[in-house]
Symmetry: C2
Subunit: 575 residues, 2 copies
């Protein structure tokens, strides 16, 4: 690995960044070269043989989302497109078998011939009942959840979605809305026999106002397709994800996806200007405003953002798209303490202010895993903490000057012990690998217990220290890394094998610790099926009751994405 | 008026901006020197004699909010602090008399001695029943609405708010939450005898995370006090309003205030991270998250943002505060057509990108009013359109270079006919006057019919042209100006006197036109009492029904801010 600059305090404060080539590919694009390939093929072992080692392919899978999970399934098998048949998906245990205590609610109707006839007439050629084709739609990305739906519907228009839901509501047929099926919490696949309502054919770009950068499109548009479309107009989507080659904007919105650009452009709650959604009874809610300012009544659009299809099916969206940045820079720094990481972040915000696009942290334990297990080179000396700073701006020279000014301050103040700057995309990519491949490296040592949490910055790293003390010699290591800029921490414990002592020491400790410090037990992936019962660690009883009240009012028969998000959600007839 | 530079295409493309003095006061601060003086005294004619001409003081009043309204009351009278007595407020017609067809709903209880005793015991020394003191709380800022409340309560804690609402709900006593009482749609004052729940004593700053810039405070904190507090930490509030000397953050959030920084920092929906609110029955909803990422369940906080106190009383807030900009620049430009205004805006976004903080438009007709009626100098030649561009960034030199580059492009492309740049605060202030005093200038000619609407940029100015054609010689002029960057248009028609022909030509034409183009009939001020019945022009029946459903579910007795926001809201017992 070659870096363009390596500096050591206090001698090299005056380093200058080389100017980036205009429109140079940035990290997200580079990682996606791998990611999208893997994604589109749902991991062909032949395509990516180097990852087919102990646990590594599961890591790669999760790398697509920028986060890592333990998957109990060996993913080094061929996985087809979600809507295509794959014999391997049959190996995934049915959710109903994994959780035998969870019963299908018998208030839901059973699909009959008349239902099929109705749908075939409504959606000629777009009703899928072929078992192989359904298998992809029944199985989630993580190979953790598998439903047994017998029917997938592919509407093209909002009106068709409305008619589908009105019919299902009248028959009390449960429905699972599905976008790209790239969710990480089992939210986008059926639990039992829910009908899959796929938005994959709802992929029209409706309008782009080039002057304002406001895009209106159907929910099924693939994120990458939108990015490509905007590229011609020097605009970008305000969010970017590793899964962008498959995930759909409607799914992004339904899960309130975070992603790589949140620090710079903010969340979807700020960037989405309007939404069109269909309620459980088929009512179309047209709040597809293209306005930055609209204060007429309650904010319905945010009800649908992040509610995982349980309150309505998002059918179209208007979204504010920022101008494409003309320059991207990266610095990799070492700090002597977490306090100095925070001080560095503070100075970075002061000096890089409007151009700061990423501020990531990894601890020494993380660095040891990537260097020892993956053989990556640490370009710096041994530091308790490392920081990745990325800037994205409209003028390369200005951005370099700002970054240099920031570096001068943090070196002078001794917030930073050591650092290096990469100015070429290949070198930026290499540096990002140190941060991005931590999970893969840990999984080479054994089992990784993983938590993806948000915490206030003043206690952000304390949970790592306390967990490390708590686990002691029971584990090979406890590491912490994540998006400081977003307050999003990845806390991981590595053990040689699955171990009940470790599990019991970790849970509910981590959730309770997170709750005590007003953190979130799900930073950006939602609750879906997997995490719905943990909601009380992040939300008060009163808040959950209010959510349940809204669910009951907006979907009284509870036909929309049942067994998701809210812990208890029975059909009205059972309550 | 002296400007530092005047340039004329194509000769002066290479002009350079002088470097701004660091921390120089910017326009908002300067205008607020006047605004706050007027605001704090609620317009003393002795303090501001120069405004005491035909309609001018009403203009000044409204200037505090950055927008302008016709007020039927001559405001050149002494107006005291909202919570202080003033004999003049008695002159404001009671809302119940102005709208005799609107009846008090008799399902609401009448205040009795036992109620007073309860509140006095709960809030010793903080129960106001003095008629003079109540007068300010009963009367709105615009002197358009006046209630007849007999009681104002001043809780200090969330628990007290909870106990107040639980009691009121049990007794079916209607409540009007009130912050700084600076709203513009009659939303913050009682309509009949509702109890005023003032948040003015809930003004504690709870916590500031200096590293992340996340501030947590009680709802009654005055916006300017928060700004002053943050100043020491090189942070700013993400919103700024002319009324900042009086308005409270809880009120800002309850009305989803827009303000001067929206273009740069986005809306409150993106910047507010968490909210604590009390429901009608006294239930405390603690969603006071300080996290940038939290995807656990439905987004309750946005239910309270912009719902004008009708769904709950906001008691505390956490908000993301950006770093203080170190430099501010301004350019005043002339364009030959609206298309060129848009092209200029597009180039401005491309070149000034991350530092653009305002992009305002005014047409020639606006310019004629300010030059003719106020004697202000037009620094440019006669142009069909004028544009104000403001930048705010972290490096003065960089910002100047970006602005120059932008100017070179728009001059070369002939998007801009003429332009001038002010580099000193006093000159920036003078240029802003041309934009800010348009309303005042129009009101000197007679009656101004005003609409504050949002529109997509491709049709933004069309409504001005069509209205001008429609009104013809019936008016002295039709002008358009506003925040291009936010899609927020001020459409105004000036007539010598009130005229039914003009009124009939304007309404419902303007509302229908706005609705047809998916605009908003209230860009940033909410609906409150004044505009609640116009909601259908911007929201579908289905959307309004869903809002009403939520209101009915969250406040079944409809005790919270009745007769506001939603057109029909009767107590449950009447339905």
């Amino acid at each position: 690995m070659q870096m363009s600059h390596v500096f050591h305090h206090p001698l090299c404060c005056k380093l200058l960044l080389s100017r980036f080539a205009k429109n140079a590919p940035i990290l997200s694009s580079l990682t996606n070269c791998v990611s999208q390939q893997a994604y589109r093929h749902r991991i062909h072992s032949s395509a990516l043989p180097q990852f087919c080692q102990k646990g590594a392919s599961a890591s790669l899978l999760s790398t697509l989302h920028g986060h890592r999970y333990v998957s109990p399934i060996n993913s080094c098998t061929t996985r087809h497109n979600s809507n295509e048949a794959s014999s391997d998906t049959h190996k995934v245990q049915l959710t109903s078998e994994r959780f035998p205590q969870l019963k299908r609610n018998d208030s839901y109707g059973r699909l009959n011939e008349a239902d099929i006839e109705y749908f075939v007439k409504l959606l000629p050629g777009r009703v899928v009942s072929d078992e192989d084709e359904l298998e992809g739609a029944n199985t989630d990305w993580m190979y953790l959840a598998r439903g047994s739906s017998k029917l997938m519907l592919k509407p093209k228009t909002t009106q068709e979605v409305s008619e589908i839901l009105a019919y299902c509501n009248s028959r009390c047929l449960a429905v699972t809305p599905q976008g790209g099926n790239t969710g990480l919490v089992g939210g986008s696949v059926p639990v039992f026999d829910e009908i899959v309502l796929s938005t994959s054919l709802m992929n029209d770009i409706i309008h782009l106002d080039k002057a304002s950068g406001i895009l209106v499109c159907q929910a099924g548009c693939i994120l990458e397709s939108l990015s490509t479309y905007l590229e011609d107009h020097d605009l970008i989507m305000p969010l970017d994800l590793g899964a962008k080659g498959s995930c759909q904007i409607g799914g992004n919105i339904s899960t309130n996806a975070g992603g790589l650009r949140l620090l710079r452009y903010g969340s979807l709650r700020g960037n989405v200007l309007g939404i069109e959604a269909v309620l459980a009874d088929g009512t179309i809610i047209d709040c597809l405003s293209t306005l930055r300012k609209d204060n007429t009544g309650y904010d319905l659009k945010n009800l649908f953002i992040g509610s995982e299809g349980t309150l309505g099916v998002v059918t179209a969206v208007s979204i504010q798209c920022p101008p494409k940045p003309k320059a991207v820079n990266l610095a990799f720094l070492g700090c002597s303490s977490y306090e100095n990481v925070l001080a560095t972040y503070s100075e970075c915000k002061n000096n890089c202010a409007e151009i700061l696009s990423a501020f990531e942290m990894m601890d020494l334990q993380s660095m040891k895993f990537v260097t020892t297990n993956l053989g990556l080179s640490n370009p710096l000396g041994e530091c308790p903490f490392y920081v990745v700073v990325e800037t994205s701006g409209s003028d390369a020279q200005h951005d370099e000057e700002k970054l240099n000014k920031f570096l001068e301050v943090v070196m002078e103040q001794q917030y930073v012990m050591d650092g290096t700057i990469a100015t070429e995309p290949s070198k930026i990519y290499a540096l990002w690998q140190l941060r991005e491949r931590i999970n893969e490296s840990m999984m080479k040592s054994g089992v990784v217990y993983k938590y993806d949490i948000s915490l206030p910055l003043d206690v952000y790293y304390d949970v790592v220290i306390e967990t490390r003390q708590r686990l002691g010699d029971n584990v090979l290591g406890v590491v912490g890394y994540g998006h400081i800029g977003d307050g999003n921490l990845h806390l991981n414990a590595v053990a040689p094998t699955l171990n009940k002592t470790v599990s019991d020491l970790l849970e509910p400790f981590v959730y309770e610790w997170t709750a005590k410090h007003k953190g979130s037990i799900s930073a950006e992936h939602g609750l879906g099926f997997n995490k719905r019962n943990y909601i009380y660690y992040s939300k008060s009883d009163a808040a959950v009751e209010l959510m349940a009240l809204m669910k009951a009012k907006m979907d009284p028969k509870c036909i929309l994405n049942p067994y998701k998000t809210i812990p208890v959600c029975k059909p009205a007839s059972k309550q």
